[in-house]
Amino acid sequence: MKTHLHQFTAMASPCKFILQGEESLILQACQQAEAEVVRIEKKYSRYQQDSLLQTINHYAGKQAIEIDAETAGLLNYAQFCYQESNGLFDISSGILRTAWDFKSQNLPSQKIINKLLPLISWPSIKWDKNSIFLPKKGMEIDFGGFGKEYAADRTAEICQQVGIKHGLIDLGGDIRVIGDKEDQSGWAIGIRNPKDPNKAISTIKLHQGALATSGNYERFMQVKGKHYCHILKASTGWPVNHWASISILAPQCLVAGSLATLTMLAEKQGLAWLEEQEVPFLAIDIHGQQFSNL
């Protein structure tokens, strides 16, 4: 059975569908699956002014915005992440990007961060299954913390519905298997070496489920020898700095990605917590030490 590779760019990442099966079925799956990635991107994009997300953010402090069932489901999921992380994972923390410019090599001023911190407050956001209201002007929510992983799950489901039995979705490194390789040997996935992200530090064979990785090398800057990455703590506004990368295997990419992010946020306590979750993982700390139960 031939293996078909479909590539495109979306969500600011290289996206790949690797599918095995009948030609016309693959064509149909690629069309519908790519359309689904684009749909999710358009709906929750922070960069497109008329996306649902930007509409919600635009009316912060002014009025509630109606939402649909899919958005309510994602907000509910964000709520669980907030609870499980004891407040470290907060989807209203995206405004910190205005303080952190990773291209500049300059650390942000504490004054600016102090101005933003009161606007980071998931518990203060009023939402229910029909609408959401961000109470203070300047508040924003951001699904960037799990948008790609969610899209990977939905896309894989669409491929399954179309009838694809063997394949996987890879959206910028967030992987969701549609079905095992035809010869049942598992899809070989490389986990990036945090110190040398173009090389794999380890390879995993995935037969089903998802693999997601959170790393400190995705967006970062080195200032005076210290490493500052894009994963910022909602409570302080400053980055975490204990783990270089966390990779998690779970049935859903959304869950794998969240567990990875939550572990990064928990810093030192993350390992013990991760071991309690009983999921397969590979954790590499900033000194290069590896912890794994794979």
């Binding site: 749909r39 709906k43 008329d50 649902l52 109606e66 939402i67 649909d68 069932a69 899919e70 958005t71």
Partner: protein, 69 residues
Amino acid sequence: MNKISLIILISILFASGCTTVKPWQRGYLAKDVMGTQDSLRASLDNHIYFSKEGSSGGGQAAGGGCGCN
């Protein structure tokens, strides 16, 4: 006559100032109260009205007939 009426009908629709509705805003239009097509009830109603009144047809092409007296 048919073509002209159709063009007029479509023009009236666009002149009425329709707003753009995003896909995720479609929720209201799909709600159950907005009339999910209960085809069994529609079949019965049409069967009764078309056999008891002098008119027939409306929202779709005719379909089957009956010896309705």
